[in-house]
Amino acid sequence: MPNAAESPLATYIAHLKRGELGYQFSPSANQVVFYPRLIAPKTSKRDLEWRVSKGLGTVHATTVVHPQQGDSYNVCLVDMDEGFRLMSRVEDIAPNRVKIGMRVKFRVHTPEGDEDPYPVFTPAEGA
């Protein structure tokens, strides 16, 4: 059996570099999968196809980290409308103003240097 051509993480990062939040879906199990994997959890389905999220979600949990040095920042869990949850942060708002149930929209954050891009969120009024 030949090796898999691309790792789940590589595909995920490629989506991010195109400004997309990718996730996986198994048609045979009607199962949404995130974080990306080679096989689906619980069902071990191999027919994982990649999809692009519309980028809208709801804050499931939120907290604020107060580091010794530097500004406080938000850490949250976001439930995407497509049915998966990921950890990220909400920007463009004071970290303690993020509330459970708040609607948020995805955008890509590209760090300086050669670090990989990752998803962040901003408040999405009326979405």
Partner: protein
């Protein structure tokens, strides 16, 4: 010598498989490879992930690999063991799985290993554990500070590969 011991022949290996080997795709993780091997071994055994309730695994690249693997596979209630004693970890896993199966702590145990040392290099894959009483060079016994190399992070691009092995145990009727 008193005490309990497991019953010889009470369990059996019912499947085995390998993950991708050699130069695997860039950014594969050891847990990816473990899951891939378990999936293939389940096919080999004619079982499915629904049958698995015990996870035994180890890799130098993840201190809590059993927890990560349980999350990856969606088996939060699995009996887990990520004993690391070096290269013999997996023989120890076999012994631990035997005991767990006999004790009824699980009924189908999956033993897995995954590594991307070929990709990220040995220094990044295995942090050194110094024993100051066994330092032959006479230098300071304090470990030198690790240089945080890019290669140790997920951003390293694969130029080489990885390997893993996997075997499965199942509680049998004994002979």
């Amino acid at each position: 010598m008193s005490g309990t011991s497991v019953t010889r022949g009470s369990v059996a290996i019912v499947g085995a498989a390998e993950s991708d080997l050699g130069a695997v795709a860039a950014l594969m993780s050891p847990i990816d490879l473990m899951a891939q091997g378990i999936d293939r071994a389940l096919h080999d055994a004619g079982l499915s992930l629904k049958n698995v309730d015990g996870l035994f695994c180890a890799t130098t690249q993840a201190r809590t690999s059993a927890m990560s693997l349980a999350e990856y596979l969606g088996l939060p209630n699995a009996y887990t063991d990520s004993t690391i004693v070096g290269g013999s970890s997996f023989e120890v896993h076999v012994a631990h799985a035997h005991a767990a199966l006999e004790a009824g702590l699980c009924s189908v145990a999956a033993i897995a290993y995954g590594s991307t040392q070929r990709t990220i290099g040995r220094r990044a894959a295995s942090t050194r554990e110094f024993n100051p009483y066994e330092n032959p060079s006479g230098r300071s016994c304090r470990p030198a500070p690790m240089r945080w190399r890019r290669a140790a992070t997920c951003t390293s691009m694969a130029r080489r590969g990885s390997r893993w092995r996997k075997s499965r145990w199942r509680r049998g009727t004994g002979r």
